[in-house]
Symmetry: C2
Subunit: 333 residues, 2 copies
Amino acid sequence: MTEMTRRQMLVGTAAAAVAAAVPLVQSSSARAAAPQFGKQAPGFYRYKLGSFEITVVTDGKSRVPITDAFVTNASQAEVKAALAAVFMDTETFFGPYNPIVVNTGANLAVIDTGNGEAAYLSTKGLNGQFLTNLAAAGIDANAVDTVIISHYHGDHINGLLKADNTLAFPNAKVLVPAPEHRYWMSDAEMSRAPSPRIDMLFKNVRRVISGEVLKRLHTYEWGEEVIPGISAVGTPGQSPGHTSHVVASGNSKVFVHGDVTHAPYLFVRNPGWHPFYDHDPVQSEVTRRKVLEMLANEKMLVQGYHFPFPGVAHIEKTATGYREVPIQWDPQI
Amino acid sequence: MTEMTRRQMLVGTAAAAVAAAVPLVQSSSARAAAPQFGKQAPGFYRYKLGSFEITVVTDGKSRVPITDAFVTNASQAEVKAALAAVFMDTETFFGPYNPIVVNTGANLAVIDTGNGEAAYLSTKGLNGQFLTNLAAAGIDANAVDTVIISHYHGDHINGLLKADNTLAFPNAKVLVPAPEHRYWMSDAEMSRAPSPRIDMLFKNVRRVISGEVLKRLHTYEWGEEVIPGISAVGTPGQSPGHTSHVVASGNSKVFVHGDVTHAPYLFVRNPGWHPFYDHDPVQSEVTRRKVLEMLANEKMLVQGYHFPFPGVAHIEKTATGYREVPIQWDPQI
């Protein structure tokens, strides 16, 4: 039996057909193949958590050039080496967004809303996909009764509004972390915004958290159960009131950790790295290390907003930090 | 600002609402949430390879109890430890199936066909999902002009037939590896089948590779370009004529490696382990080590039939073997 050789393994189009014993009818048929789609599958993924059903729905991805500013306390070369280690593009960072829908049987709750329909139009579908993928998942935005917000960055709240500024979830209460709301709605805090970037975030918050959204808004405190089965956990740093959520049903739990860590192959593996968007990088690192340590010790499932879709993983300890272990896509739930 | 405590992180339903400052309207509304789906998303995933478009379409998964027989040269305890290390069930192995569709612009080719529609009915959808997910991906089985088979195990060929034994891809040529075809169609080989399991495989091959399938069948040799852009590479061991395929377009290549390694967290990480289904475990290990070494050295993309869906990964070397590095799901291609 012929064994595979390197030449055979890497055989290209030119070197082909040398050993043909039975002639194949090559594609000389008149018709061409079906047209290509040029479009990704609508990304959604379901899993059971006790009696709850969770649907992760991708909102798309960002594209950010890697510069020295991307991680404030690691060099561009270190960041690029970390990206190369996972075979990713080292020039442009590609960060996904994973809002989720929790069907508890009593509530249909969305946690974070993506970049919004306006972004879908302006980015030509790069992100802002949440509403279209939600529809592909068979979920009616009008049936959502609760939207839970982790924090007030645009990629989490902008999806509250459609492109025409009407409500994306017209029948939903909007539940937001009280400390986050207090900070961003404070004119005093806005007047001392520490950077132009943060000043822009303030302006965006006041654009979105207004009008009809504000009428439906309720604040919740850390430690509170915001709806039955979903509890709020203070995880500040990324923003002053950044909040994670424990979703629990029966003996099953998932820690929906928002932006405690962004891309896991960067910030789970290097929990001491400070991404540029952290409001308080030192506090964020303290939070991140606590959460990762807890997740590893408890072997608790984590749902990461910026983890590779569908964003569900466990965390293991390593010699130098932690490592994400993504769940295997389950073709039957 | 309150910091997260362990108690807060693990707060359950009972301990909730202690810190509520603003009362939330709990889910006392009359209507219940929308019904749950209880069904996974139809799993398909697209990627570009040069000018080709590849769609990975899940056929579902197997369920196999972990016993001492599962890996013939490793203990049940070692296998269970490897499963526990990736947070998987240690009692039951769950192995996915990933047929792919390659649209080259000139051909619409399927590589391997899954367990078939009959299995879909008998397993209640656990596997045999290929045709339904293919339809969900917008691909018409009647438009497929070429089916390429890697080897003659049932989970790769049974999908050639529908439940009523008519052709699943009625307009397709069926291209099969000549050494594989010779082995399984040989009455002499069948008469000396080394085990009842292999004897059953012979019987299954002769059930499927007959009638209308046989009329459309062409054999190809290792080293041959089976259709423009797809070349055959001999990778024997798992079965006598087991074949991998290099799909190449422009400067891009993917090594469609069939069953060279089964579950990567077991057999990529432990390339010396012999899974029970290997026809010639020693030859299979030689093939596996060669392929993994080549993939790691060339940083070449691999498409794994039994890798976690969508089964696209790179291979890195480790101190003790290799490790799979799955690609990140790309929400926009």
